[in-house]
Amino acid sequence: MRPDLDIVAAMVAPGSRVVDLGCGDGALLETLIREKGCEGLGIERDPDGFHACIARGVPVTQGDLEAELEEIEAGAFDVAILSLTLQAVRHPDRVLAGMKRIAPRQIVSLPNFGHWRLRAGLALRGRMPVTPILPYQWYDTPNIHLCTLNDFERLTDETGMEIERRVVLNGNGEAERGPAKLAPNLLAQGAVYALEG
């Protein structure tokens, strides 16, 4: 499993009802169901991801997460997860508000567009940056709403969410232990947030 997903999994209490919005191949949900006795549901648009979920025995709905999110009843889950997907949705603000509506706890991970290498790439080379955590060319990327950690934290505040915990990530999606914790908006490649609201 991707290291950032291990960090997400550690934030989920055993036995929780969990929805993973954009669950990919269902690896995170499988871990939560098997190891933590959670009840899980994935939403995944990609047919390969959908079939991988079936093969793992992870319950999944195939569809667009923004449309499916609207149809989920308020308070239907304990935890709503959005991992490395916020930057790819059409309306990040509505998705956050929707997550708050369906679950009292939310876990969101995202790449940090404020990382110094991205800033430097843009400032010095004058080109849209390509990095391990954001490996796409500007014209061929699913990431349509990139933001910095500061931008994101401001949006959570506007959505009425409290940041309960933040784990900053290095380029491999592992937890940063060094100076990135002091100035994450400049030094972290991404972060995982545990939110309440």
Binding site: E39, F50, A55, G57, P59, V60, T61, G63, E71, A76
Partner: protein
């Protein structure tokens, strides 16, 4: 397509008789119930590989293969999904399909003799519900020595039986495949059903349901009911693709009240071929079975049973189906999830309308295969 299950035979079993009549959910009794069924593949030593197919309104026990002497190009109604290497893989699974209670293709129904009078039941056959259909399926399984199912699979009314089965008898089914079904008919569904019923009952040959010995059957009414039904099974797109506004057997319209457009000719053909194989009373009874279906009426009971059952569900719909649209399937998925069941849901893209579940659509069959593989893997079925 590789060869299917080959030549098969419909078998019969008497599952209720004598001291053991069938008691319906309503309390009414049917003294003797015979079931017509077919099986494909072999039951394994652990008896863990049985898959039950529930058929839809106009289906029968002959789901796959051909009968001796039949045209090999006209196999059973769901042959494309059943057979060696097909999604319901008969090399691995023991597949059973039975004509439903109230049917007219070998299982006891309104056209069967009432042992108390010797003549056909007609409308003296008691009203039945989906759960009564399930009761008879389970009696057949007991007869076959099958105690639990790896999977139960059904489209439309078939899916409704699968759903009721998992709710009424928790713990008997590992995986439930509920395809193009509804958990509760809409007012529009019931309206169409009412018009079909009226068409049959207003036919002068209907004779209050006692037409078996009169020499004239309510073919016009039943044919009309089927024509109405068929319109709801197709999508506007599939009708446009298939017929457009083309004229039957001519270039120019004939301008008149007889059949002129191809789509009219097609509907007439559907109506006529249907009356040759189907009984009007069965159409009435099974139509009513669907109208009254409401398995989620008592959410507390559903939750208790679904939790106890441990069944995982695959709910599928088709985007061009307007009889039981995706909204119906999503409602089923939502109700089951609310009750705590693991539910996988997918809307499949297809232009064939409600009938899509009978077509070999790659996305659809791949999803069914994947779900079946998963169920088989959990029971170590190789």
């Amino acid at each position: 397509m590789p060869p299917g299950v080959g030549v098969v035979e419909t078998q019969r079993a008497v599952v209720f008789d004598g001291d053991r009549p069938l008691t319906l959910d309503s309390g009414a009794q049917i003294p003797r119930v015979e079931v017509a069924y077919e099986t494909y593949g072999r039951l394994n030593a652990e008896r863990s590989n049985a898959v039950f197919i529930c058929h839809a309104l106009s289906g029968d026990a002959h789901a796959a293969g051909i009968h001796e002497g039949d045209d090999p190009d006209r196999p059973g109604w769901w042959d494309n999904i059943i057979g060696p290497g097909r999604p319901l893989d008969t090399d691995r699974f023991f597949v059973i399909c039975a004509n439903v209670l109230g049917g007219c293709s070998g299982t006891t129904g309104p056209s069967s003799p009432d042992p108390r009078t010797g003549g056909p039941y007609g409308l003296r056959f008691p009203l039945i519900q989906v759960r009564d259909l399930v009761t008879v399926h389970r009696a057949l399984l007991a007869e076959l020595g099958v105690e639990r199912l790896l999977a139960a699979v059904g489209g439309s009314l078939g899916g409704m039986q699968v759903l009721q089965w998992t709710i009424d008898h928790p713990g008997e089914i590992d995986g439930a495949l509920v395809i193009a079904a509804s958990g509760r008919l809409s007012a529009q569904n019931i309206a169409f059903s009412a018009v079909a019923r009226e068409a049959i009952m207003r036919d002068p040959d209907f004779n209050g349901g006692d037409y078996y010995d009169t020499g004239a059957r309510p073919d016009r009414g039943l044919g009309l009911a089927r024509m109405i039904g068929h319109i709801t099974y197709l999508s506007e797109e599939s009708m446009r693709e298939k017929f457009g506004r083309r004229i039957q057997d001519a270039e120019m319209p004939r301008f008149g009240f007889d059949v002129d457009f191809q789509v009219e000719s097609y509907l007439h053909y559907q109506g006529q071929s249907f009356v040759e194989r189907f009984d009007a009373n069965t159409y009435l009874y099974l139509g009513r079975v669907m109208d009254y279906f409401d398995p989620f009426r008592d959410p507390v009971k559903v939750q208790r049973r679904v939790e106890a059952g441990g069944t995982s569900y695959l709910v599928l719909s088709f985007d061009s189906d307007w009889r039981f649209s995706t909204a119906h399937s999503k409602e089923i998925a939502a109700e089951l999830r609310l009750a705590g069941a693991p539910v996988t849901f997918r809307e499949i893209s297809s232009s064939h309308g409600h009938d899509s579940f009978l077509f070999a659509i790659p996305d659809y069959h791949e999803t069914v295969s994947g779900f079946m593989d998963r169920l088989a893997g959990e029971r170590d079925i190789g």
